[in-house]
């Protein structure tokens, strides 16, 4: 009969061995189980990581830049047309005052916009909206902040003829151009047999604008499979963009726009936006979703240029907008951390494409 003292004191050798052995086996088993658990966790983590990567890969493909740009059949792109359009684009003689060209507001050095909150028209008087960039305008099914034009050919003459903008008239413009022999030759070369009219002016300028394409950005290279093309922060930003921050509710596809109209809740906005054209309640204060291509170069932001930086823009959406009246229901407070906001900005900066290389034209005399 054993006493408690014996158990507590010395153990018989065989028993001690057995106990040690059991302990060893137990430890070995625990270690093995732990290893298996760790292994499984690692496998699970790898699996989740791979799934997340696959998910991000799938997400990425929705943003792949197309191989072709849409061009109307009746205004195909030719070198002569691009050249003529470029000359017209940079020529201030298209304006009534002779001082404003298309490039005055759509300045290639300023992201094909003007760096101002509000555009300045004839006599440098501010207009009511900011100058939208013309980057990737070839893909826009509707033009202007309120989408009032269905194609570039219809849009081009509008700012030229608007009193507050370039303040010219169809007749004066055509007379001016017809009096310049260099233009007569250039039009004949670009549109042989066609009269020099506002219609051919619009066609030429449209053709030039269709060549203002932002692509080959670090983001595009990442989409094509170069994992090192953008930073870890930008990758996290992309996940936020398509996930938690829900930016893709509006900024969809390769051009980062749904070509739609939304009231984003800007403080103090009284501009009816698209509602003035289409009187449906949801459009009160709604404006076209702009592209985010080259967005780092197109500040200030929003239709009224109310934000100077991308950080301010992200803050706006993080707050869920300011003015809640008729606010787009896709917009809600996001609860983003400081790091997440920074990641979104880094992502947007990865959308800067190769700049369009162009030689400034000598204007015809």
């Amino acid at each position: 009969m054993k006493t408690a003292g014996e158990d507590n004191g010395r153990k018989p050798a065989a028993q001690a061995f057995s106990a040690d052995r059991n302990q060893q086996i137990g430890a070995a088993r625990r270690k093995a189980y732990a290893t298996i658990r760790t292994g499984l966790s690692v496998l699970l983590a790898i699996g989740l990581f791979a799934a997340a990567q696959q998910d991000q890969q799938d997400q990425r493909s929705a943003f792949r830049f197309p191989d072709h740009i849409p061009v109307p059949r009746e205004n195909q792109i030719t070198a002569a047309r691009v050249e003529l359009g470029k000359i017209l684009f940079f020529d201030p003689r298209l304006s009534g005052s002779g001082n404003i060209s298309c490039a005055s507001c759509h300045n290639p050095a300023l992201g094909w916009s003007d760096g101002s909150s509000l555009a300045q028209g004839d006599g440098t008087v501010p207009l009511t909206r900011s100058t939208p960039t013309i980057i990737n305008v070839a893909f826009d099914p509707l033009l202007m902040w309120d989408g009032r034009f269905r194609n570039l050919e219809d849009q081009v003459m509008s700012p030229i003829e608007t009193e507050a903008e370039m303040h010219n008239s169809d007749e004066l413009l055509i007379q001016t151009l017809r009096d310049i022999p260099g233009y007569v030759r250039a039009f004949e070369k670009a549109y042989p047999g066609d009269d020099l009219t506002s219609h051919t002016v619009a066609k030429a300028v449209s053709t030039f604008e269709r060549t203002i394409i932002s692509r080959n950005s670090p983001f595009d290279r990442w989409v094509e499979g170069n994992d090192k093309a953008i930073s870890a922060s930008a990758k996290r930003g992309f996940s936020l963009f398509t996930g938690k921050a829900h930016c893709v509710a509006c900024h969809q596809g390769f051009n980062f726009t749904d070509d739609g109209f939304h009231n984003i809740g800007l403080r103090g906005n009284t501009d009816p936006g698209r509602y003035a054209l289409v009187p449906v309640r949801v459009l009160k204060g709604a404006f076209k979703t702009p592209t985010l291509r080259d967005v780092a170069y197109t500040a200030p932001y929003m239709h009224n240029g109310s934000y100077q930086t991308l950080e301010e823009v992200v803050d706006h959406y993080d707050r869920g907008g300011d003015d809640k009246e008729n606010l787009d229901p896709n917009i809600k407070p996001l609860g983003l951390s400081g790091q997440e906001k920074a990641d979104l900005v880094q992502f947007m900066k990865s959308l800067t494409g190769h700049p369009v290389m162009l030689t400034l034209p000598r204007l015809p005399q």
């Binding site: 099914p141 509707l142 989408g147 893709v248 509710a249 509006c250 749904d258 070509d259 739609g260 109209f261 939304h262 289409v278 009187p279 449906v280 309640r281 949801v282 459009l283 709604a286 787009d328 229901p329 896709n330």
Partner: protein
């Protein structure tokens, strides 16, 4: 007791619809297009009294409106999974659009 599953209930609805002579159509809003029976639809021919349910299948809000003289309505905006129904009570051709996404356009021809 006879239990109606979802399929049975749909059948019941169809039967009720048939009994009253009016049909119900379901048009989806998917990838910023209108789809009917899985295909993009630009023209849908229906008869007076029929109803169309517009169902949002996209992960963002859509709207449905018409400013046509025959049938003017604005069904507001609604999120994924929800639908808005409209019954067409007059003959004519009606342009239907999503105000948020103007590229979404279809014509309903009511005979």
């Amino acid at each position: 007791m006879i239990r109606l599953g979802p399929a049975g209930m749909i059948l019941a609805v169809v039967l009720v619809s048939s009994a009253t002579g009016a049909d119900k159509y379901v048009v989806g809003q998917k990838d910023k297009t209108f789809i009917y029976k899985g295909e993009k639809v630009e023209l849908l021919k229906i008869k007076v009294g029929d109803t169309i349910e517009f169902k949002n299948l996209d992960p963002f809000f859509h709207n449905i409106f018409s400013l046509s003289d025959t049938k003017m309505f604005d069904l507001g905006s609604f999120p994924q999974g929800q639908f808005r129904a409209v019954t067409f009570d007059q003959r004519g051709k009606i342009d239907i659009e999503c105000a948020i996404h103007p590229q979404m356009h279809m014509v309903v021809e009511v005979k």
